[in-house]
């Protein structure tokens, strides 16, 4: 088997540790579990892997009502019942009523795909355990038809979690784990430059000082994320804010802070803030 080598993309910067984690997960054929603060690019990682390795991406958005079965296939009994009563379709072939979920489709894809299981922690606590067998064996049985679906190519499985629930140990043991740390200033500079290549150095410097200062304020409960920083810079540039004026006031704070209490607290602080 040739090695797929993930190295980040032009608009997704991956740290060396993250790239290693991705490549180990691919080589060892294990699911890659990704955690990290909101806005650190957990979901985008799967897109970047797919883009970089030129593979198709299948996404399974997990919801609180999701069951493991949904990812494999759903037997559309309602449609069949409807057809039996009113339709003129042939209902004898149950296969027509088996609708494959993202995992089922990933197994049957003609080429290797990236399978993103997004926000796995939203579902019931037992959900990850229910997937163990399929992830280990890369096959599942369609009860209704007696057909076994086996993966042609083992998909690259990326799982994200927001820590809403703890994941079961048995599941964790099988994963390669990476925690996307919040970017430090140097890394953040790189990230911002990808999105705003024309940004003036001095403005960027001031913006980052203000951004990390905000994140450090104990009153701020929902700390601003990378994507909010990118939006904020876009707003500042459009309004033509100069680096000098950033020392005295922070315009468009609403782009960064979404809770009213956070905004109030910070605005009070800004008024008392000394000039850097």
């Amino acid at each position: 088997m040739s090695f797929h080598r993930f190295s980040g993309t032009s608009d997704y910067l991956a740290s060396a540790a993250l790239r290693d984690a991705v490549n180990v997960a691919i080589a060892l054929e294990k699911p890659l579990l990704i955690k990290g603060e909101p806005g650190t690019g957990k979901t985008r990682l799967a897109e970047a892997i797919a883009q970089d390795l030129e593979l198709e991406l299948l996404t399974w958005h997990v919801k609180s009502s999701s069951q493991a079965q949904h990812g494999l296939y759903v037997y559309d009994t309602v449609q069949r019942l409807n057809d039996a009563r009113f339709g003129d379709r042939d209902i004898s072939d149950i296969g027509h009523y088996i609708k494959y979920g993202p995992m089922g489709r990933a197994f049957q894809a003609a080429e290797r795909v990236v399978l993103l299981i997004d926000e796995i922690d939203k579902a019931d606590m037992e959900f990850p355990n229910d997937l163990l067998h399929e992830l280990d064996r890369m096959s599942f049985l369609v009860d209704e038809t007696g057909k076994t679906v086996t993966a042609h190519h083992r998909p690259i499985v990326v799982v994200t979690s927001n820590n809403e629930k703890e994941l079961p140990d048995a599941f964790l043991r099988r994963c390669v784990f990476h925690f996307i740390d919040f970017p430090d200033e140097a890394m953040m500079t790189e990230i911002v430059q990808v999105h705003h290549p024309q940004l003036e150095d001095e403005l960027l410097r001031q913006v980052l000082i203000a951004f990390y200062w905000l994140r450090d304020q104990p009153e701020v409960r929902k700390r601003p994320s990378t994507s909010e920083l990118i939006d904020w810079i876009a707003a500042l540039r459009r309004a033509g804010v100069s680096p000098d004026s950033m020392r005295e006031q922070l315009p468009f704070l609403g782009v960064l802070l979404k809770r009213e209490q956070d905004l109030d607290a910070v605005e009070t602080r800004v008024r008392h803030r000394r000039v850097h």
Binding site: R5, A27, K30, T77, L81, D169, L172, C175, F177, M187
Partner: protein, 409 residues
């Protein structure tokens, strides 16, 4: 060296299983750590440590273990010598030994040797990926093929230095407790009842059966799958609890937000519950404790939150209540026992760290309820105790003992 490392990690409290360790050996044989201790640091972490709350433990253990040997540590040499003479970690369970037997060392060895050969063949730099050179596309702090500088850091920082920075200290589960993590821990608090209540219509099964039956409607009933947990949260407020107000508020709001309990109630008390429990933090509006107790039965659990730090009189004496205007006829400790008798699955959470649970009153309370620290780990243990996933007994013995550490384990 590698086996010693995994034994060391376990000794430091990381639950590394032999399967995970074998995965690491496979990854090493396939060349994923190159020869570089910094890459080994990340690789071992990705494969052995599955929660960021344990990164700090890992960092400490890593720094301890490699501090003195870092300069002469060579992953390739170590791996070669390990493959020559595969020494096994001790302390293995039978299940783990069985997993080991399944491992084919010859295959690992040949994989590794092949990688080494590839390295020699392509020793012209650029694409080799075992080796200490900084020009590899996968080198730490180097450049990636897209020509994008990553992180802006040069080499130079050693793995031990990185580990010693302990950047993940703030993520430790025995330190941080925000509303979200409390909510996550409380979500584990559930018991699904199959034996309780009338059966419910199972819509999916009904449709399924009807379709299978060619459209003849067939109703299917099943047991309800609802959480049976009923929770009463009793919180000590005021006085010595003031420093913990923020923490208690978080617990309170997380418990309130948790919508998965069958019933949830909360009351406040000061130091020790007596005849009245309060519905507001200022202790103005209240309800007779006896009325609250009447509603409780063994399907309820009570979580007490308090430092249990008071004068022993407040627990043992009639009229011992701290509030001068309140004359209690029943000693505080008896009220606690009444709660325990009504709801045996009850626990006490203490916001103070266990090392300062030295007051005699703490020991007295611990003889009634199992006590846990109000940290994420403590809360998890408390929840597991309530659910019966974990056995924790109240303290035994008569005299106020402060030495009975470890009883929660």
């Amino acid at each position: 060296m590698f086996t010693g490392f995994v034994v060391h990690l376990r000794a430091r409290g990381l639950k590394v299983t032999v399967t995970e360790w074998l995965t690491l050996m496979r990854a090493l044989a396939e060349g994923h750590a190159r020869a570089d201790l910094a890459a080994f640091y990340h690789l071992a972490r990705a494969l052995l440590v599955k929660s960021e709350t344990q990164f700090d433990l890992y960092d400490q253990a890593f720094a301890e273990y490699f501090r003195d040997v870092e300069a002469r540590f060579d992953v390739t040499d170590e791996l070669l010598s390990w493959l020559e003479n595969p020494e096994m970690p001790r302390l293995l369970s039978d299940e783990e030994l069985a997993a080991l037997e399944a491992l084919d060392f010859d295959e690992l060895r040949s994989t590794f040797e092949q990688r080494l050969r590839e390295q020699d063949e392509r020793h012209d730099g650029g694409s080799r990926w075992i080796g200490t050179g900084g020009t590899s596309p996968f080198g730490h702090g180097g450049t990636n093929p897209g020509g994008i500088r990553v992180g802006g850091r040069g080499g130079g920082r050693s793995a031990v230095q990185v580990a010693s920075e302990r950047r993940f200290r703030n993520l430790r589960s025995d330190r941080v407790l925000d509303t979200r993590s409390i909510g996550s821990a409380l979500r584990r608090l559930r018991r699904l009842g199959k034996d309780e209540g009338p059966e419910e219509l199972d819509l999916d099964a009904t449709i399924d059966q009807s379709a299978r039956g060619g459209g003849e409607i067939e109703l299917v009933f099943g047991p309800p799958r609802k959480n049976r947990v009923k929770l009463l949260l009793l919180m000590d407020v005021g006085g010595s609890m003031d420093p913990h107000t923020q923490l208690c508020e978080r617990l309170f709001s997380a418990a309130h937000a948790a919508s998965h309990f069958k019933s949830f109630e909360s009351r406040f008390f000061h130091n020790c519950p007596y005849e009245h429990l309060f519905t507001d933090m200022e202790h103005r509006r209240g309800e007779p404790t006896a009325d609250v107790l009447k509603r409780l039965d063994s399907t309820w659990s009570v979580i007490f939150v308090g430092d249990a730090w008071m004068s022993p009189y407040e627990l043992t004496h009639i009229g011992g209540a701290i509030d001068l205007f309140h004359h209690n006829r029943v000693p505080g400790i008896d009220w606690l026992r009444r709660f325990r008798d009504a709801c045996p699955r009850s626990v006490w959470l203490n916001p103070e760290p266990q090392r300062i649970w030295t007051a005699p009153s703490v020991a007295m309370v611990r003889r009634v309820f199992p006590m846990f620290e109000l940290t994420l780990d403590g809360l998890r243990d408390a929840v597991d105790t309530i659910c019966g996933r974990r056995a924790a007994e109240p303290l035994r013995g008569g005299a106020a003992s402060t030495t009975a550490r470890g009883w929660t384990h």
